[in-house]
Symmetry: C2
Subunit: 135 residues, 2 copies
DNA sequence: GTTAGTAGTATACAAAAGGTTAGTAGTAAC
DNA sequence: GTTACTACTAACCTTTTGTATACTACTAAC
């Protein structure tokens, strides 16, 4: 596929606009990708997942997991034999198809953080809006 | 870099979590990537940009452009010689660094749309929540 | 002179997303 | 018996995001 450098055609532009729109529609928002990344470590239980991500409330995690399950990214395993009931979440094969997206985002974020830090060291103190998340 | 397939280590997980978090911090949200894609066609004026993206209000576009400018993704050219004043927006070189991210998202979105369409044709009618944006 | 276009801003409001607190029903440790 | 853990859910609140309408000040076409 042709890249997204300068000067794509209007047709290509609209096609990219639609495709990226579709992607953001299902994996957009603050938490979905983080949940998928966290489940890349292996299957996890609800509270374990909440702790590993950090900053997400139970309510939001619960809602996001439902949506991820609906879209086929996550599978919910309930072990009814144990008491109390144990629920484990795991990534599906379809979530693996996001590998390139996550890889590209992760690589870019790493580069961006390094760039911001360097700029800060050189004394280019900008407004906190331009900065990255805290260490 | 190691991919994001099954079974990454906790350390790798946290690193990805931070990097993807940094990326989402600056390019997350409904509009930022769309604006950058639209500017890949070439420099555009305010209303032209609004029309090309579709669905974005002037207020939101104005706010998003300010943020994108602060983060160095977009450059604002004002031609004071003309009357009325002409303002053109263009992508910076730094926005080009998002090439891989946009490419991966676009490719994934295209694949996802095809998958959903195929599932719909096979009669797997699911709730509209799982679907893609309208044609 | 009316209409439309330029690049926005002001105001007000609505909707969506996310956060806070508390609570359930059961178990198990101290 | 008190505390804590499990996997959530309900009610409520705040923040973010988006929408609608109107307005500026100037130009150009009809």
């Amino acid at each position: 596929m042709k890249g997204l450098g300068q000067n794509i055609t209007p047709k290509e532009c609209n096609s990219h606009l639609q495709s990226v729109g579709d992607a953001l529609y299902v994996i957009g928002g603050k938490w979905k990708l983080r949940i998928i990344i966290s489940l890349s470590e292996g299957r996890k239980r609800f509270n374990e997942l909440q702790r590993s991500i950090g900053g997400i409330s139970a309510r939001v995690l619960s809602n996001e997991l439902k949506e991820l399950e609906m879209n086929g990214f996550v599978h919910r395993n309930v072990h009814t034999d144990a008491t109390p009931v144990i629920v484990e979440y795991e990534r599906t094969d379809y979530a693996d198809s996001l590998r390139d997206v996550l890889g590209a985002l992760s690589a870019w974020g790493k580069m961006h953080r390094a760039r911001i830090k360097k700029a800060a060291e050189l004394g280019h103190a900008k407004s906190s809006n331009t900065l990255i998340t805290q260490d």
